[in-house]
């Protein structure tokens, strides 16, 4: 009875994993297809990878995606961290208001945020493209950074800032020497979230961009209207990069901890 239940749940989880990973495996598999078809495998070839690297649209989209993600991450991490620190010392009401407004982009459907920004940029007669897309990305990334930094600030010893000032730090020195080093884990994970949010964004970018500036998501969306196996090649590349990245993120800290534990013992 117990055994059959266990086998049942194993099968269930197995099917679930197949469901989650089938499209990913499928994408990787067909990126090596020599034919154009998305359904028949005609033989192994790397031609779509070659096409990808010679497709200037694709390369440009990859470039914009990365540049925007990097800048948006840097700006939102700095601004989000500074604001979160300031807010932690601010009046309750201001905290509440900022929290509520931050919730708009988090809770609203992306499409609503997107059309709001579209109308704002048009109203200001801003020409849509790289700058508008970057501003939009910074806008939706900052709340994520703040969400990740604020709990770290809350868990700090309430006297830590005062202790630093008591020992002669000016408020700015206290911030840099005492507060920032301690909330660093939250800042890093906030930056990570901001990066992936920016990297993966489709809906908001799609509405606020223009003048031929597009990112990977927009590219996939527009290309999907006709069959293009280069998308599979690009997707495979992204999958590989993210796998390596996640592997590093998950393995490096545990290795680091191990070596630290060893050195502490020795």
């Amino acid at each position: 009875m117990k055994k059959s239940r266990r086998i049942g749940s194993k099968i269930f989880m197995g099917v679930l994993m197949l469901f989650f990973y089938a499209p990913i495996i499928y994408t990787i598999f067909f990126s090596f297809n020599s034919g154009r078809s998305l359904t028949h495998f005609d033989g192994f070839s790397l031609q779509w990878y070659g096409k990808m690297f010679s497709d200037s649209n694709m390369l440009q989209a990859v470039f914009y995606t990365i540049v925007i993600a990097v800048i948006a991450t840097a700006v939102s991490t700095i601004v989000g961290t500074i604001t979160a620190i300031g807010l932690s010392k601010s009046h309750r009401i201001l905290k509440l208001i900022v929290e509520q407004v931050n919730n708009f982009p988090l809770m609203n459907p992306d499409i609503v945020t997107a059309i709001g920004l579209l109308m704002l940029f048009s109203g200001l007669h801003a020409s849509k493209g790289f700058v508008t897309m970057l501003l939009a990305h910074i806008m939706f990334c900052i709340p994520y950074v703040m969400l990740s930094v604020t709990p770290k600030l809350k868990s700090l010893d309430s006297n830590i800032l005062e202790a630093a000032m008591d020992l002669g730090c000016t408020p700015m020195q206290a911030l840099i020497k005492v507060i920032v080093p301690q909330i660093m884990p939250g800042v890093v994970s906030g930056a990570l979230i901001a990066f992936t949010m920016s990297f993966d964004d489709f809906v908001i970018s799609y509405f606020v961009t223009g003048n031929g500036v597009s990112n990977i998501s927009i590219l996939v969306y527009t290309m999907s209207k006709r069959v293009n196996p280069s998308i599979n090649a690009l997707s495979t590349l992204i999958i590989v990069i993210i796998s390596v990245f996640l592997l590093l993120v998950n393995i490096v800290p545990s290795l680091y901890n191990k070596s630290k534990a060893k050195s502490a013992k020795g």
Binding site: F12, M13, L16, M17, F20, Y21, P23, I24, Y26, T27, L38, T39, H40, V79, I82, T83, I85, G86, L87, S88, K89, S90, L94, V98, V101, N102, F104, P105, M107, N108, P109, D110, I111, V112, I115, G116, L117, L118, M119, L120, M139, I142, L161, P171, L175, F202, V203, F207, I216, S217, V220, Y221, S224, I231, N232, S235, I238, I242, S243, L246
Partner: protein
């Protein structure tokens, strides 16, 4: 300390400009039509009238709600046992499962959704397998089935993780206490585990229902150009027909529906809690 407070001012200016102002623009456009030269905007309810009078638009709204609802129910039915299974696994295995579930979500949603286009095609892998078994090939792509499948595929991990977190937070000694007080496995599940994991299910519902009802690229990729949901309707108002007033009104209607459903789930959460406390 006062100098720290000043650090929030730039951000306050920034959000009032880039978050609050767009919200006002949506409200403004939804309730106005373009006026004559003297006045830029004229107040009107026509945009809402247009939506509710025309059965085409109502159909789109109902379809979106139906699809989102079915998606949510399917996510609960699949996500609960999965979350439960992971929560009951041993410590080391747990993290491996969580990683397996979260990994696909790190990959671009469009990329993953696009892969289903190939799988579901008439001569795609699913139909190939079906024909091997001897079933006649069926149209899968560009159906409501494909849209719901794509949504479940994209949003199910959120539900599983919410339920898993709620279940792991639960104190194991509660189950021991229930057993001690004479409850068998089924009863302690129904009386202890299920009620305590309900908050997880509810936050899972918000995480699934909300993006499902407003999604527009999943219906576009998997439902085909003829399959229209609210998201597609808004998109076309802004990017093809250029009727911003109507588009804003539709967005507002959608946001209100979402707010009502959020309020209802919160209320369920609260009454559950108070009832439990009262008992």
């Amino acid at each position: 300390m006062k100098s720290f407070r000043k650090m929030t001012y730039p951000y306050v200016v920034w959000i009032s400009f880039i978050v609050v102002a767009p919200m006002f623009l949506i409200l403004l456009y939804a309730f106005t039509k373009e006026g004559n030269a003297v006045m830029d905007f004229v107040f009107t309810l026509d945009n809402f009238k247009k939506f509710f009078v025309d059965s085409v638009f109502i159909d789109v709204l109902l379809r979106s709600l139906r699809v989102a609802l079915v998606t949510t129910v399917l996510c609960i039915l699949i996500g609960y046992p999965a979350g439960y299974f992971i929560a009951k696994s041993s410590e080391g295995v747990k993290m491996r499962w969580v990683l397996l579930i979260t990994f696909p979500t790190w990959i671009n949603m469009l990329v993953r959704t696009y892969a289903w286009v190939g799988i579901l095609q008439d001569d795609g892998i699913v139909n190939n397998i079906l024909s091997i078994i001897g079933v006649r090939s069926i149209t899968l792509l560009h159906t409501e089935f494909a849209v719901i499948l794509g949504m479940v595929y994209n949003f199910l991990p959120f539900m599983i993780l919410q339920i898993y977190t709620a279940l792991t937070k639960m104190d194991n000694s509660l189950l021991e206490a229930a057993a001690d007080l004479g409850a068998d496995r089924v009863r302690s599940f129904l009386k202890v585990t299920l009620p305590l994991s309900l908050p997880g299910v509810l936050s899972g519902i918000t995480l699934v229902f909300l993006p499902a009802v407003s999604s527009f690229f999943i219906p576009k990729l998997l439902g085909g150009g003829q399959y229209v949901m609210v998201g597609n309707l808004i998109e076309s108002q802004f990017l093809t027909s250029g009727d911003w007033n109507f588009g804003s009104a539709i967005s507002l209607i959608m946001v209100i529906i979402i707010m009502i459903s959020l309020y209802l789930t919160k209320k369920v959460d609260k009454t559950e809690l108070t009832e439990r406390r009262a008992n």
